[in-house]
Symmetry: C2
Subunit: 155 residues, 2 copies
């Protein structure tokens, strides 16, 4: 979700192909099947900009898989989506979420409706597996709308 | 508040002399006249360690000037001291505090009882002046106990 020109990322054969890199100004939340918010200090920079906070709000409305790890849930907090929800996060962020009305579990992966959250790098394998599983279920339900990926050239 | 050996810092003639650098393990909150928590990403690292969180709690009980700027108030939040208090912080931290029961003002310096808080580097001059003013009032009330500074050699 940066300012890069529209383009296409392709990793090895076993990896997900990301159809486009596009500016947040051109990104329509409803056209994505999943949202994964990684950690580090990036989430605190992203949430300083309402465009990213609003994207998260708009995406959550779709009910599609929304994954956040480490400091990623800071964006859910900035979007004021956490009250009454169950999730986990980086240890220091857990207290922020709990005091702001979320139910916080100190577990490797926490699933609550469309949310998949994890705490730290050690959780990443289980976190990624769960996110892919939820995307697979979306597809199995016939709710996968791969508009973006179809529009990209094949491998 | 690091792991450095006990020592003494001295700046120019117009600056404050810090009596000691000591490990958090040897620091007794009651022996300090003031606490200033700077910003950046350091507060998020400090609050991952209960010793720093407990130091802040213990210091706040003394009622002496407690100043925090930018991300510094994350330590007040981790110490669960913010509910019902009025303060400010770095813009992204303001929402965390507000949703966790604090009254947040978007002002350069906010004073609430013994707390002095500011938002960002641009506020630092007013922030520092207010902190020094509060320390001066502490001294004027005869509540200054410069144990630490007296034990250091003179300039």
């Amino acid at each position: 979700m940066g300012r890069g020109a529209a383009g296409r990322l392709s990793f090895d054969e076993d990896s997900i192909i990301c159809g486009h890199i596009r500016s947040i100004d051109d990104a329509d939340a409803a056209s994505y099947e999943g949202l994964l918010i990684p950690g580090g200090y990036s989430p605190d920079k992203l949430r300083a900009d309402d465009r990213f906070v609003n994207f998260v709000k708009d995406f959550d409305v779709t009910g599609r898989p929304l994954a956040a790890v480490c400091h990623g849930p800071q964006l859910l907090l900035a979007a004021e989506l956490q009250r009454g929800r169950t999730l986990t996060a980086w240890p220091t962020v857990q207290g922020d979420l709990r005091q702001a009305g979320a139910e916080v579990k100190d577990e490797a992966v926490v699933v609550d409706d469309n949310w998949i959250t994890s705490r730290k790098p050690d959780d990443l394998e289980a976190f990624s597996a769960k996110f892919l599983e939820e995307l697979g279920e979306l597809e199995a339900r016939g709710e996968w709308h791969p508009t973006e990926i179809d529009s990209a050239p094949g491998p």
